[in-house]
Symmetry: C2
Subunit: 332 residues, 2 copies
């Protein structure tokens, strides 16, 4: 249960190490690879944003409102708050005849440091559009407006929109989503602790459509296409998911979540992967995910430069000297 | 070896957990409390900055140059890069007849977000004074100038200044400091992996003077007084070491290091404490250290509000809702 998934090396020795759980599942739910307690309920946090966006697409709302690839990708995003993300989030709200005032995600500075400094330099202050979840929330707003629902309180579990997207989560992952396993996420919507195996299974289904029903499967394919066409939207400069999908296109759909969660769909292989770094560190979940992708994406992937760099990368200090390395532990 | 020292709770369940090593040692080096492999060589990183500042004081250089409490505290600091830190770092260099150009620590934006945004808003760019290690480096510069040493390359292990401060580290911790256990730190000076027990022993000696020799013991007392009088300098707004020492004064000297290191001297109890979070997370090392301080500082400390808040604190989301908690695992 406490197997190392990643190590930080400095001066030729391990300075820090990260334990984790990892699981690879096919679309039937059969386990192909497992490390740790894959039944342990774990909050997927933002890893399931694409599942939350399914009702927006399958209801026809996205098409009626004319949402494009960038906007659909942003609905699945934990973005950096860079100018392009803010612009697209505002555009989504505009499609629904709304603006930033209706967002209930809260405000924080752009997570990308360059974007934060540029905003400050321009004399600006962040608003809810800069929140890394603004695209997901704009998606909820679009869905609610298309259905002529009252928007207020859309973040609460009992609101019709939250009920609808939570039902989609339960359907895709085949896991219970109720009061007993509910927490509150950084952007105030509920997050539900589900087995890691169920999370991976959901990603196998999301990547293949297998077991989802025709409309839901089509919506999943539409969202994967949107993200493959606009991978910058799902994260931003330097972000794992963006860098990965810019390099590999539709061969993989990957999405991080807070507290060391990573999940991915491998449509061609019919697999889903879920990784949790037990201590919540993204650096560890990322190298573990890249290492699993090198193994399960097929022979070309193993030698792909971008994937190799995501699986093992140097640590440089403030003078640009290489002083260490982040790498997956030999867990496979 | 992989005992949990801290847990992150959300929605009533543990979302993430951190393993670690912790040790409490008296000034004779006898172990009072141990968790995990206390013999494991570990990089103390910035936790030993006060030891690195000993030659500056005991050589008489600090007195000859007229360094005050703020400046001596900054020599022991990993600071936020707030305006006061930058001002004091520049003042130290001025005492040596130097300026920012001689610093070899490299440049980064202030680690304090408000300070970074304010700097950007003013149209400024960071320089080496904003580096969290600039006070330590300014201390090296003061020592070198007082000795009329050639400054260039003072960060390298073979430079006389680095030899002198490394000898102080070896003396205070009674641990070997050589090529075999050397890594390079973020600011480019060497860092040496030493047993956690030796790190704690060094802090017990630093807090008591026991086993240090008269001049070194006086220098240690001078540095502790400086930090107790100017705790803002050692970290800054919201930082564990600053908040702790603003509340407890000279009853404790505490210092963090990168990758989840915390160390502390308890002068009145004659103890030293060292904590390493195995995965490198400060949030875990901090709650573990606060919990150990509550136990070992004596009965008043256990009920001290500030200490209790450092040992267990809420996680709030972007709407200010309490969504979780960071707390020490029941490791004591």
């Amino acid at each position: 249960m406490d197997t190392a998934i990643a190590e930080i090396e400095r001066g030729g020795r391990v300075e820090s190490r990260h334990a984790g759980t990892a699981v690879v599942v096919d679309a039937d739910g059969d386990v192909v690879f497992a490390l740790g307690d894959i039944a342990l309920p774990t909050y997927p946090r933002s890893a399931v944003k694409a599942f939350l966006a399914l009702p927006l697409v399958e209801s026809g709302a996205a098409e009626r409102l004319g949402l494009d690839d960038e906007e659909l990708a942003l609905a699945c995003a934990s973005h950096n708050g860079e100018p392009a993300h803010v612009t697209v989030a505002a555009r989504m709200l505009g499609r629904a005849g709304r603006n930033v005032a209706c967002l209930e995600c809260g405000t924080h500075w752009p997570t990308n440091a360059d974007a934060a400094h540029a905003l400050a330099r321009s004399g600006g202050e962040p608003n809810a559009l800069h929140n890394n979840c603004s695209g997901k929330h704009a998606g909820f707003v679009c869905l609610a407006c298309d259905q002529e629902q009252d928007l207020a309180g859309y973040i609460h579990p009992a609101h019709p929109i939250m009920r609808e997207v939570t039902a989609a989560l339960a359907d895709v992952t085949d896991a219970a989503h109720g009061e007993d396993n509910r927490g509150i996420d950084g952007c105030s919507i509920p997050t539900y602790a589900i087995p890691m195996r169920a999370l991976a299974h959901g990603f196998a289904r999301f990547g293949t459509g297998h077991g989802l029903g025709r409309e839901r499967a089509r919506a999943a394919a539409r969202l994967r296409t949107a993200v493959a066409n606009a991978p910058f939207m799902v994260g931003g400069s330097g972000r794992f998911d963006t860098v990965l999908m810019q390099a590999l296109g539709s061969a993989v759909f990957s999405k991080m979540g807070a507290e060391g969660i990573m999940a991915a769909s491998l449509p061609e292989q019919g697999l889903g992967i879920a990784v949790k770094c037990h201590d919540g560190a993204p650096r560890a979940a990322e190298v573990a995910m890249a290492t699993l992708l090198m193994r399960f994406l097929g022979p070309e992937a193993r030698d792909h430069t971008v994937l190799r760099d995501l699986a093992t990368h140097d640590i440089r200090n403030w003078n640009g000297m290489t002083v260490g390395r982040v790498r997956a532990a030999p867990f496979i």
